[in-house]
């Protein structure tokens, strides 16, 4: 029977998330604990234009000079400053004598975090992959004057698959290896420095009826940041498979999840939990050491989940999808923290992890003041980490026995204590 009383949503911890949708808009949603933890859309960058649909995004959220790279339809790649949305650079991915950009859309994009420590001009590396399998790694320079520098220092293109379409690509935590998989393409792992394929998966054997499901990987992720050998891939036939490069070419663990394709996989920082989202909006967390489903995230998500992001510090994940909602979930209780309606079907979401409660001046790319800025942001982040930890402890103690209103008042008490200190 439908519930007749209202359900109160606990608020979000202070977080900032950027979402990308099919009309090419970038929306920034922030939740501040002063306003009760309800996330609000703070900013919107771009004009609604469906020919500029955003297909992939990658954030490099360093403390100083964070950058956001987005790939639009038509082969256009832009690099923005995630703090204010100003474009730093825009590159076109169209290769001469290559296929039309309409057929060869960009599927995966990764902005590398390591960079040269040369302060005068910062060069960044981008890895892009298109559906026909053309992966290219290019490094671009961003001069400090924010001018549109279209110079690409080096660019290397190679073909990842002979036939079929690539649907998913990921780069591992140490940024030396990348994996690619798709429709008719078995998952392959490439060594990026040498540009060679080091491993290819083999599909599982025919089942007892003699039926062979065609290869169709829809999403994949590396299991932990340090280990490039284990990764999880989700298929179109609602299977989740764990592969281990050092063990065998066939999947090590494989299990089914509901009935629609697995559209998004995200890993947790402990190195064995993953979050999967499928085509009918079911989000679940799985322990990959055993292949056991830990639990489903229930929360009225009615559209396909296109992207899941895990906050690097707080136990919060964000999911977005075709039903135009951005939802924040608490990992431990698997409940919705809040949901924001964003009016367009969403394709990607990323977290900006350096969001602090106080107003931090946006870090400018001037070389002499860079050191100062890094110190400032680091200090403010440390202050923030302590009050958050205190809040978490109080919620753990009071959560089991005391009812919700009391927990909230305890949180309010903690806030006042922190402000005074």
């Amino acid at each position: 029977m439908p519930r007749t009383s209202t359900l109160e949503c606990p608020g979000c911890p202070p977080i900032r998330a950027l979402t990308f949708d099919v009309l090419g808009l970038v929306k920034v949603t922030e939740a501040r604990s002063k306003e009760g933890g309800i996330p609000k859309v703070v900013d919107r960058w771009g004009e609604p234009d469906s020919s500029k649909c955003i297909l992939a995004a990658s954030i490099d959220d360093r403390k100083s000079g964070p950058l956001l790279a987005i790939a639009r339809e038509g082969g256009l790649i832009e690099i923005l400053n995630p703090l204010n949305g100003h474009p730093c650079l825009s590159i076109s991915n169209i290769i001469d004598n290559g296929p039309e950009p309409g057929d060869d859309a960009i599927v995966g994009l990764h902005l590398f975090k390591k960079q040269n420590l040369d302060l005068s001009s910062r060069s960044h590396t981008l890895l892009t992959c298109t559906t026909k399998g053309n992966a290219s790694m290019r490094s671009v320079e961003l001069t400090s004057s924010h001018a549109d520098s279209t110079s690409s220092v080096s660019s290397r293109t190679w073909n990842v698959c002979a036939s079929g379409n690539i649907l998913c690509s990921q780069v591992d935590g140490n940024e030396n290896y990348a994996l690619f998989g798709g429709k008719g393409v078995e998952v392959n792992v490439w060594d990026l420095e040498q540009g060679t394929k080091i491993w290819t998966a083999k599909s599982p054997p025919k089942n007892s009826l003699g039926l062979f499901t065609p290869t169709w990987f829809t999403s994949a992720t590396f299991l932990s940041k340090d280990d490039h050998r284990k990764f999880v891939a989700g298929t179109n036939s609602h299977q989740v498979r764990l592969y281990d490069i050092s063990a065998q070419r066939r999947p090590v663990i494989s299990f089914d999840f509901r009935e629609t394709p697995i559209k998004a996989v995200a890993e947790d920082q402990d190195g064995y939990t993953i979050y999967i989202g499928n085509g009918s909006g079911d989000l679940a967390s799985v322990d990959m050491r055993t292949g056991k489903l830990l639990g489903c995230f229930l929360g009225k998500c009615s559209g396909s989940i296109r992207s899941i992001a895990r906050h690097p510090e707080l136990p919060v994940i964000a999911s977005c999808g075709l039903d135009s909602y951005l939802r924040f979930w608490d990992i431990k209780t698997r409940k919705v923290l809040s949901a924001v309606f964003l009016k367009q079907p969403l394709t990607n979401v990323v977290f900006d992890s350096n969001f602090a409660e106080e107003e931090v001046p946006s870090s400018v790319v001037d070389p002499p003041t860079e050191a100062q800025n890094t110190n400032e942001t680091q200090e403010s982040d440390e202050e923030e980490v302590q009050p958050l930890k205190r809040k978490k402890k109080s919620s753990k103690h009071s959560g089991s026995k005391k009812p919700k209103p009391k927990k909230r008042s305890k949180k309010a008490q903690d806030e006042t204590v922190d402000d005074s200190s």
């Binding site: 309800i38 609604p48 085509g279 009918s280 009225k300 009615s302 809040s338």
Partner: protein
């Protein structure tokens, strides 16, 4: 026309009362745009002036799959077929659907796969495919697939009354009907409304005095098909009744004014949306834009369409 609640307010006013802690209110304030809820008599632009313009909604509309038909760049052409096993009421319902929807063609199902039928229809330039599904000798589901890449809407069909069972029914003519879409207020409802709109040609013939109504109430879509006629009536002074429901075959009597009389013709049925899938029909590999889940029924007053 009096100001009706705007596009967003009508949904969010209800929800802001029921769920004050949710972030529903954020969407009211972000854009300066609110659209006046208008009865979607798409032809009568002069009667319903738009007060504000909702930019993202219109951009989304331009980008969606129905925009080419709704912008009159192409004409709708519908292919109707059934599930593999047909029933007694099925063919009768289909013949009535053929008379309601102009430019509709019926093909027998045979044993073709639905995905192959979709490809065949794309080749022959159909804009929409309707599959009538029967269960226990009664039509009970309707699948509307937009072509070429359009969304697939799966409706549950109930309370079907055929033309011969309607009392004092009329016979429809072949003029292009006028379309009335009521109460499709939410974003999802707007999308379904446009999908239904794309089944009919966008140039109604008012001389034909034929109207097809899809009325959404509490997530049920009621379909009615009427012929109307305006008559000028001279009535006595104390004889004024209140305005009745548009479905009634009643008379709006007022003093010496023009009166509309309705005669129902054609079938009568109700639809309820079960799921809306992105892309053409593909149950295994498809991703859903909207699918009903039992955990979504948190309130008796919350509806999705």
């Amino acid at each position: 026309m009096e100001a009706k609640p705007c596009f967003w307010q009508s949904k969010y006013q209800i929800h802001a009362q029921a769920f004050p802690r949710f972030g529903w209110k954020s969407c009211e304030k972000t854009d300066t745009a609110l659209i006046k809820k208008k009865k979607k008599r798409y032809c009568c632009h002069d009667r319903c002036p738009i007060v504000y313009v909702h930019l993202q909604l219109f951009a989304g509309n331009d980008a969606d799959e129905f925009s080419s038909i709704l912008n009159r760049k192409s004409d709708p052409k519908i292919l109707i077929t059934t599930c593999r096993f047909n029933s007694t009421r099925g063919p009768a319902f289909i013949s009535e659907l053929l008379s309601v929807i102009p430019n509709a063609h019926y093909y027998k199902r045979g044993t073709y796969d639905l995905k192959k039928i979709v490809e065949y229809a794309k080749k022959k330039d159909f804009t929409s495919l309707i599959v009538v599904h029967t269960n226990r000798r009664e039509p009970d589901a309707l699948l509307i697939i937009g072509l070429p890449d359009g969304p697939t809407a799966h409706f549950k069909l109930s309370k079907l009354v055929l033309r011969k069972d309607v009392k004092n029914h009329g016979n429809p003519t072949s003029h292009i009907p006028e379309l009335v879409l009521n109460n499709f207020t939410t974003r999802l409802g707007h999308r379904i409304g446009r999908m239904i709109q794309s089944l009919f040609p966008q140039a109604p013939n008012f001389g034909g005095r034929r109207v097809v109504t899809f009325h959404n109430q509490r997530d049920f879509i009621f379909f009615r098909h009427h012929r109307y006629i305006f008559e000028s009536k001279e009535s006595k002074q104390g004889d004024s009744k209140g305005n009745k429901d548009k479905d009634a075959k009643g008379e709006k009597s007022s003093r010496g004014k023009v009166v509309a009389r309705l005669q129902e013709c054609g079938p009568r049925f109700t639809l309820k949306l079960i799921s809306l899938q992105h892309g053409t029909f593909d149950t295994k590999g498809g991703e859903y834009e909207w699918v009903h889940k039992p955990e979504m029924d948190t309130s008796r007053r919350r509806f999705f369409l």
